[in-house]
Amino acid sequence: MEHEIEQLYREAGRQFAPAIARLARTVERDPDRARDLEQEIHCALWTSLSRFRGDCALKTWVYRVAHNVAADHVAKAVRGPARVPLQEVEELPDVANPETEAAERLVLERLAELVRRLPALDAQVIVLWLEGERARDIADITGLSEGAVNVRVHRIKSLLAGHFEQPRTEGALP
């Protein structure tokens, strides 16, 4: 049994370790705390894998564990910005480093800042979208309907459109 768990854990690590590191670094700006959260996710994943029966894809399982542990971590934090639902956000928040030069890097920093200010589910949808997951997979991971996921993705695309020098069409925008 433990051998199977170890195999699953290693497979999850091969596929998703970078995505989990990015999630931790997005949720926690402080590098030490981000590292702690990353380890907390690894630990929760290891413990949870004894219950994995293959009812869903390993990817779905890993992302669910990672995002739920991250959401619990945020909920435990005493301080933090007030959470504003994505539908009420007018523009991407400013970041601490206004001298960032590369446009995409600036947008990504502002996106990360936005994620830190969103309620858990909105943040989870945006991070999964940034990871390149399809609406159907995001719906499977979060438990939201595909429609609810699409509404949020559309919203973030609209917010992003205002941050490129030349506005892109819906199709051109990533």
Binding site: R22, C43, W46, F52, R105, G132
Partner: protein, 191 residues
């Protein structure tokens, strides 16, 4: 997976790896130890209140002050019930982070909501008989020496302070429960 919308996002931390399974096993064991240690600290904190009440009850019975013994015994029993309730609530926490995120969030909110809303039943209630008996006994004993008027006047402040403290705890928890209820409603609207 489709193409990530921003390659810059997925390029970050691309060399990250999972912690070694041996290290993770050790951490998981360490986590269990931490929970056990935290529980011990909570019991010790409960003991700081419980032991003096229980000892005072025994001492009162020893000296023939049976009314005080009963009151302090009821208070000690109330503390035991509160500690047991705390332990049960912590023990019943089923941690399943593999649930879909919305289900997980709803479970967390509902658990917090129920705990906050029912504070009068599981936290305040068990202590009420002990306090009533204690204040009643003190008033009765004072009245024997000073008369009822003076005894009641003397007890007014402690009784009011206790009532105010209890009401404050209940209201604070109700207020927090309402906040959680709003989050639960917002979750329902999201789907």
């Amino acid at each position: 997976m489709t193409h990530p919308p921003f390659p810059g996002w997925t390029d970050a931390a691309h060399d990250s790896t999972f912690a070694d399974p041996a290290e993770i096993k050790e951490r998981a064991a360490g986590f269990t130890k931490t929970i056990r240690r935290r529980n011990m600290i909570e019991y010790a904190a409960g003991g700081i209140v419980l032991v003096p009440a229980a000892l005072a009850s025994v001492a009162a019975a020893w000296t023939g002050e049976y009314a005080f013994a009963l009151a302090l015994g009821a208070l000690a029993a109330g503390i035991v019930i509160v500690l047991r309730n705390l332990h049960r609530r912590a023990g019943n926490l089923e941690h399943r982070p593999e649930e879909p995120c919305v289900v997980h969030l709803r479970h967390q909110y509902r658990r917090q909501y129920e705990a906050l809303r029912s504070v009068p039943a599981w936290y305040i209630g068990p202590l009420v008989p002990g306090f009533l008996l204690l204040y009643g006994t003190v008033t009765w004993k004072s009245a024997e020496a000073l008369g009822w008027r003076a005894a009641l006047e003397g007890m007014a402040l402690p009784v009011l302070a206790t009532l105010a403290g209890g009401a404050f705890i209940v209201l604070l928890n109700r207020w927090a429960a309402r906040g959680i209820r709003r989050k639960l409603d917002a979750l329902d609207e999201m789907e």
